[in-house]
């Protein structure tokens, strides 16, 4: 509930800014010194294309939040949005300016955005993880009781599903 209220207030206060923001906008932040669980990686926010509305597997459908580490390991997947939003809040809430030093480091590592191979790899690993997790959750749901309803194939996240990259947050050590 806390998140919903906080997010609703933010949306109300920044509606125009959010509506005008381009897709794929990103930022770079350092890990949180007091939280060992937050290590370098990327938090991706995707939107599944199409008319997927079933929330039986993904509570945020059609949006997917995933926190992936630099080696491609998924630390928190889309069925753990609360943990990811908590990290987002810890790293970003109240910050009004970009972290210049990290942005410069990121620019130099990606050759001013022309070499995104590391992030492309992480994107691929993340989408693959989404597809695998989605199918695992369906299988688990089937065994959880008689009430579970499998989403239609067209609504399921699969390797071939199209996603839009809404935003991403790079967590980078100095």
């Amino acid at each position: 509930v806390g998140f919903r209220i906080e997010l609703s207030k933010y949306i109300e206060a920044n509606r125009k800014l959010l509506e005008d923001a381009p897709l794929g906008l990103y930022s770079v932040v350092p890990p949180h010194p007091e939280h060992q669980v937050i290590t370098p990686g990327v938090i991706f926010c995707f939107k599944q294309k199409g008319d997927a509305t079933s929330t039986t597997v993904n509570p945020l459908q059609p949006y997917y939040l995933v926190y992936v580490l630099l080696d491609g390991t998924v630390r928190f997947t889309f069925v753990q949005p609360k943990q990811i939003l908590e990290i987002y809040r810890l790293l970003c809430s109240g910050k009004t300016a970009a972290h210049e030093q990290l942005c410069q480091l990121s620019d130099s590592e990606t050759k001013n955005g022309t070499d995104m191979s590391l992030y492309n790899k992480l994107l691929a690993a993340t989408v693959d993880s989404i597809a695998r997790t989605f199918q695992k959750r369906i299988a688990a749901g089937l065994q959880s009781g008689r009430d579970f309803v499998i989403p239609n194939q067209s609504e399921q996240a699969r390797e071939t599903t199209d996603f839009e990259l809404i935003t991403w947050l790079v967590i980078k050590a100095k």
Binding site: Q135, A139, Q143, I150, P151, S154
Partner: protein
């Protein structure tokens, strides 16, 4: 579809098992029996081992 057509469809579906992939042939057979659904679980790789690992808990 009348009874005769249904039986022909079932007959054709059964014959499909000879040369179609098992999953496709089985889906077609179920459809000819009147069971149609877009709800699927995709196993990757689609093997008995994955099936056991996924469901035998």
């Amino acid at each position: 579809m009348n009874d005769s057509e249904t039986k022909k469809a079932i007959d054709a579906s059964l014959k499909n098992f000879a040369d179609k992939p098992l999953a496709d042939a089985a889906t077609a057979l179920l459809e000819s029996l009147g069971y149609r659904s877009q709800k699927r679980v995709t196993l990757k790789p689609n093997t008995p081992e994955t099936f056991v690992a996924t469901f035998a808990k």
